[in-house]
Structures are given as C-alpha cells and as structure tokens.
C-alpha cells in the first residue's frame, strides 16, 4: 500500500521528467482545424438528411392514411347513398312541378268559375220546374209545400212536371245547394 508521501514523491518525479509532448506546429493546427470543420460539416449534412427522411416518412404515412380512409369510404354500403340520391331527385321533381304549376296562368282569377257555378246552382238549373231561387221565394211567400215539392201558385206546371217525371225520383231538396241529378231520359 503506497503511502501518501510515496505517492507525492512519485508524482513529483514524473513531473520532473522532461515532457514528450511537443507544441503543435502551424500546419498541424491547420490540419486539426480542417478535420474538425469537416466533421462538423458531415454532422450537419447527416442532420439534414435525417430531417428530410423524417419529413418524407411523415408524408408517406399521411398518404397511406388517406388511402386507407378513401378505401373504407368507397367500400361502405351503397344502399343509403342510392336512397338519398333518389329522395333528393324526387324532391327536385316535386319542387319543379310546383314551380311549373305556379306559372300556369289563371285568367279572370278563381272568382270567375266560382261565380258561374253559383249562378248555375241557384238561378239557372230548374228542379221540378222551378229553379232553386224560385223555390226559395215560393217557400218564403208560403206558396210551396216542402213535403210534396209542389208550388201552390203554379199547380198546373208543377203537376205536369211531377206526372211526367219518374216517380222514383226524390222531391227537390231544400237542404243546402246540392245539385240535383235528373234521371229523365
């Protein structure tokens, strides 16, 4: 076991020896600097290449993921998409038909046929010899019998009409303004 003193003495003897390391010359320094710079450039290039590889890998991974998503979407059931397309087409047809109907002209407005129908129902179509308006007037003035449908003020015409008509036909109805279909031939 070396003592402390012996250790110190040994180290001092080593330090006392002449150094074998010689100072570097200028050329050696330039060589070492060039080598260090070359190593630094190599390291930078390696880092750049590594970054490029990583970027390429990220792009490739994204493309693979997109392709996988597209593949999955294309292979989904087409029934729902077809049904949706059919419904939308049907809706478009209905809307276009509605638009076409809206552009159809209506000369004279809706009141024209309504007024014509009203005039026909009440004043022009005779029922059992008299029009509805006339029957109404006869009932109001007390000259008509609602049960038999005969006007007392126009007995001849009414009786002739009732004799000529089919007995199975019903008497004129005073309920509402329902048109009376004649069964005469």
């Amino acid at each position: 076991m070396e003592t402390r003193a012996e250790k110190i003495a040994r180290l001092q003897s080593i330090l006392a020896q002449p150094s074998s390391i010689a100072p570097l010359t200028a050329n050696q320094k330039r060589g070492f600097d060039a080598a260090r710079l070359a190593r630094l450039d190599t390291l930078k290039e390696l880092e750049k290449a590594d970054k490029a590889d990583k970027a390429d890998k990220a792009i490739a991974d994204k493309a693979l993921a997109d392709n996988a998503m597209t593949y999955q979407e294309n292979n989904k059931s087409t029934v729902s998409s077809t049904l949706g397309n059919a419904l939308s087409t049907a809706g478009d047809i209905v809307v276009s038909a509605g638009d076409a109907a809206a552009h159809i002209p209506t000369p004279g407005s809706i009141a024209t046929p309504l007024i014509i129908l009203l005039v026909f129902f009440l004043a022009l179509i005779p029922i059992a010899g008299n029009t509805r308006l006339k029957w109404l007037w006869l009932v109001v003035t007390g000259n008509a019998d609602m049960a038999s449908g005969v006007a007392s003020g126009d007995i001849k015409r009414a009786s002739a009409t009732t004799n000529s008509t089919n007995p199975s036909t019903s008497p004129p109805s005073f309920v509402g303004i329902i048109p009376y279909m004649s069964l005469e031939v």
Binding site: A102, I125, P126, G176, P179, M181, E184
Partner: protein
C-alpha cells in the same frame, strides 16, 4: 246520407280548396278544377238547360 253529412262534406271540400288555392302551386289547380266542375255541370244538366230555351229556337235551329 243526412243533410248534416252533406253540409259537412261540402264545407270540408270548400275549406280544402281555399287552403290549396292560397298556395302558389295550388291556385292554378283549383282554378281549372272549378272550370272542370262548370263543364261537368253543363254536361249533366243539359236537359234542364234546354228547358230555358224556347221551343221556337229549337224549331228555327232544326
């Protein structure tokens, strides 16, 4: 059918026609439906309408 049923049916039909005519696409449909009703009325009540014309008119027109 009773009178009430007739009245109810007529009122419902009139209400439906009024609602349809209030729309843009329904106005023309109701308009031409009413004209069709006028034509049908004329066709079905031809004999009654003939009584409105005097006999002389029939004689002159053959």
């Amino acid at each position: 059918m009773s009178a009430i049923q007739f009245f109810t049916a007529w009122l419902l039909m009139i209400l439906l026609l009024a609602m349809v005519s209030s729309t843009e696409w329904g106005k023309s449909i109701v308009y031409y439906t009413l004209w069709l009703a006028v034509i049908l009325l004329l066709v079905t009540h031809t004999e009654e309408l003939k009584t409105l014309m005097p006999q002389k008119a029939y004689a002159l027109n053959g």
